[in-house]
């Protein structure tokens, strides 16, 4: 029996030594390549899985709370879904008439809007040319560059494309809740089977990694959701008070875009500015919107974010640009919105792994211990 135990311990020593011989960056690079390869070949299913995982993760807090007051997990999940459906129906009943009107209005007026933009810009350019004749060529070039995308959008918005995008959107709308439901309901069972597969000598390392990840990533994702919701509500109220058209759609866009730092608020702000410019045809309206979005940005950076997301979890600017470029290339705009928080969370995981690399004795190295205390 004692010999057997010694043999076991020696075997574990050997396994740990081999584990230390493989540099961590090689494992990480291999994982990243594998992930990119998978992402390249199954982009849409990956997005759906990622989105389901993120939603389930955020909702798991509520389910865990319900479970800790003694409710059955399945009952809690079903109740949450009924509540969710109720809230969506309620929100639809309240917001849908306005939202539908906004969207219908926008699409029907699109040709008119593009013409208006063209007219306003041509008018302004003529004024500028008459004031400063030297700039004529430059202004004409800028103008043609500006008008081109507007006309392009107008031409490419055909119904088959809208229909196919809407179909995939509604497919996602059905599949994501389906995945979320089962992820929430069966997560403890899944976790148990994962834990059962972990060899006993690696349990502490696994638990440590998952625990730290859970605390940091959970805080970040929940904070981000709250942050985006608050920014969206403030933007909607601000736009509504300024009398700009489509305040709800623009507010929702601002909330979603807020996930992508720097670029998101800039894009949402630009869209709001464009709408205001078309509606009022004056620079002062645009300035008002710029002021509104700057105020929202400041409020978000100084007041909301420190309380929700916290300053510790932020993506490095270089990594952020890389993420935006790669995810946009791979998954499009929707993928970009999901990729940023995902990579931010991944960065946190990498930091935890690196920290463990710097202190390899954390749960692994037996041979280096020279002293023992109680």
């Amino acid at each position: 029996m004692k010999n057997q135990e010694r043999l076991n311990r020696e075997l574990i020593h050997e396994i740990k030594k081999v584990h230390h011989q493989i540099p961590r960056w090689i494992i990480l690079t291999m994982l990243l390549i594998l992930l990119l390869f998978f992402a390249f070949h199954a982009t849409s299913i990956l997005i759906i899985l990622l989105l389901s995982g993120v939603v389930a993760y955020i909702l798991s807090t509520i389910i865990n709370k319900a479970e800790s007051v003694g409710m059955k997990r399945t009952v809690a999940v079903v109740l949450l879904f009924i509540l969710w459906a109720g809230m969506i129906t309620g929100a639809e009943m309240l917001l849908s008439p306005y939202l539908q009107e906004e969207i219908k209005n926008f699409y029907s007026r699109l040709p008119e809007i593009s013409q208006q933009v063209e007219q306003i810009l041509t008018q302004r350019s003529q004024d500028s040319v008459s004031a400063y004749p030297v700039t004529e060529d430059v202004i004409r070039k800028i103008l043609s560059d500006l008008i081109k995308p507007v006309l392009f959008i107008n031409k490419t918005l055909n119904f088959s494309e809208i229909f196919s995008q809407a179909a995939s959107f509604f497919l996602g709308l059905i599949i994501v809740p389906f995945f979320v439901f089962f992820l929430l309901k069966d997560w403890p069972k899944m976790l148990n089977s994962i834990m059962a597969a972990v060899p006993s000598e690696y349990v502490e390392t696994t638990v440590s990694l998952v625990s730290e990840m859970n605390i940091l990533v959970g805080k970040y994702l929940r904070g981000l959701t709250l942050d985006c919701a608050l920014v969206g509500i403030i933007a909607t109220c601000g736009l509504w008070l300024s009398g700009v058209n489509y305040p709800i759609s623009l507010g929702m866009l601002t909330a979603a875009a807020n996930v992508v730092p720097y670029l998101g608020p800039l894009l949402a702000g630009s869209a709001a500015c464009l709408i205001a410019f078309i509606q009022f045809g004056s620079i002062s309206a645009v300035v008002n919107i710029i002021l509104l979005y700057s105020a929202i940005r400041l409020m978000d950076d100084l007041i909301i974010q420190p309380h929700t997301v916290g300053k510790a979890v932020k993506l490095h600017p270089m990594l952020l640009v890389l993420t935006i470029v790669i995810s946009h290339k791979l998954f499009g705009i929707f993928g970009m919105v999901i990729a940023v928080p995902f990579v931010t969370a991944l960065q946190k995981v990498a930091v935890i792994i690196m920290e463990r690399g710097e202190h390899p004795d954390a749960g692994l190295a037996v041979s280096r211990i020279s002293h023992i205390s109680l």
């Binding site: 004692k2 057997q4 135990e5 076991n8 311990r9 574990i12 865990n64 479970e67 800790s68 007051v69 003694g70 409710m71 059955k72 997990r73 009952v75 976790l191 148990n192 834990m195 059962a196 972990v198 006993s200 000598e201 349990v203 502490e204 638990v207 440590s208 998952v210 625990s211 730290e212 605390i215 004795d361 954390a362 749960g363 692994l364 190295a365 037996v366 211990i369 002293h371 023992i372 205390s373 109680l374």
Partner: protein, 162 residues
């Protein structure tokens, strides 16, 4: 009222909660907190003879025996010495919650065993988030540590000095 909501109440965990209540470390914590611990903490099934941790490993987690038996073994010049055999309701590795330090002895399962694992960062988070729960657990921890000190002092006093 309670009968009406019986379909929604999770009865299966009652045994595990009763067991957790008997753990000295979680003494006087209410049922909601125990349920929260049971939901949040990791559980792992071990086969007989599995090494939970080895002497000298850096400790970062506390273990509660939910089912089965765990033997605590210390390596001495005379060979392996069994310090204790822990039954359901016992816990070990509690020092890891205070400070990451090398394990004083090894823990090996005697039979098929189920352990509940509380990791240090979870405990730290609990201290930051819920002071009432953590101060209760800390107080229980201090009590258990003070009993160790008493036992060690008795051994030191009784042992012949060189």
């Amino acid at each position: 009222m309670r009968r009406f909501f019986k379909w929604a109440v999770d009865d299966k965990k009652e045994n595990e909660i009763a067991l957790l209540k008997s753990v000295p470390l979680f003494n006087s914590l209410d049922k909601t907190v125990l349920r929260k611990l049971l939901t949040d903490l990791f559980k792992k099934d071990y086969a007989a003879g599995d090494i939970v941790f080895s002497e000298g490993d850096m400790g970062k987690a506390l273990y509660v025996v939910m089912d089965g038996l765990v033997k605590i073994v210390k390596n001495t010049p005379e060979g392996d010495k069994t310090l204790a055999v822990l039954k359901p309701g016992s816990y070990f590795g509690e020092l890891a919650l205070i400070k990451e330090s090398p394990r004083f002895a090894s823990a090996v399962t005697e039979e098929k065993t189920k352990l509940l694992i509380m990791y240090k960062s979870y405990f730290d988070n609990l201290i930051r988030g819920d002071s009432a729960i953590s101060s209760r657990i800390l107080l229980n921890l201090v009590e258990s540590l003070s009993s160790y000190i008493c036992v060690n002092q008795d051994i030191d006093m009784g042992a012949p000095r060189e």
